[in-house]
Symmetry: C2
Subunit: 149 residues, 2 copies
DNA sequence: CCCGCAATCGCAATCGTCTTGCAATAGCGC
DNA sequence: GCGCTATTGCAAGACGATTGCGATTGCGGG
């Protein structure tokens, strides 16, 4: 697993888009690969490699290797929400950044543009170009703050 | 290892302060405990449990258990800088929050007040009360941006 | 339609980080 | 000192992820 994205994001909208992108790069479309892709497409939130392996009855190793390929091609990303396994998602509809509640484990996925004001403040004050695609913003979500302020 | 701090921070300035705090809570001051504390005091940046264990020739398990106690008492914290082991530091001189360069792995430790403007923007826009003590702000540091913009 | 090569697969083993079980040890209040 | 119990060291295990390797299989070329 790498820390930074392996390749610039390659946004796809449909399974066919992804398959076409893979074919163009000379990568094979094995049954396993299709199953991993289908599983990622079916998920509405980032999922673990373990989740995928169980869902489509594949070897965990094979799932990890396919996810690695997809990340290298800029077709998928993984995010670390607290401890626990990395969670994977396709870049369908564009990159996503995350906010994570460490109390209730809620996850908010937002388009990068929405976090630009945050990025701006960080850049101005510290010179860092921050991103929250791989490690989210961690804190207490509105609901938890209201419940136990 | 826990995600959130176990106890409110208990700021100490000297090894004697920490020892006094432990005694007050009825915790024993074993040789191992003193060595872990001394090691944390000697470090100028957060260190791994492994680092401590090697440095003072203690069993890794014992180091982890001592660090756990220190966190429960609000005397120490750990931070995750990218992948790899959690890194521990005493709360000497107050809590610290972190910015982490995922390219050169530089770490900037700042007082929480310095990140309040960032926190404010996040709170206004998303309602999250963010903190960067346990998971840092991740991105590209000024030096790396200048080098490969 | 078949061949052959390299990409990919499944399985087992290994790694890195951290945790748990348990018997032995040793602080600390009395 | 005495005894209670926190703490220790060692071994084993949990968990996420990676590597080695022989077997399989997509897929371009004939």
């Amino acid at each position: 697993m790498t820390i930074a994205p392996d390749a610039p994001p390659l946004v796809c909208e449909t399974l066919e888009d992804v398959i076409a992108a893979l074919r163009e790069r000379g990568l094979r479309l094995t049954a396993s690969r299709r199953l991993v892709l289908a599983s990622l497409f079916a998920a509405e939130a980032p999922v673990s490699a373990e989740h995928i392996a169980v869902a489509v009855a594949l070897d965990l190793t094979s799932v990890y290797r396919n996810l690695e390929v997809l990340e290298q091609q800029g077709l998928a990303r993984h995010v670390h929400l607290g401890h626990g396994p990395g969670l994977y998602a396709l870049l369908v509809g564009g990159e996503r950044e995350f906010l994570h509640c460490e109390r209730c484990h809620a996850v908010a996925a937002v388009a990068p543009a929405e976090l630009d004001p945050v990025r701006d403040v960080i850049r101005e004050r510290f010179g860092y170009e921050a991103h929250f695609t791989h490690f989210p913003i961690t804190g207490i979500c509105p609901a938890c703050r209201a419940y136990a302020p």
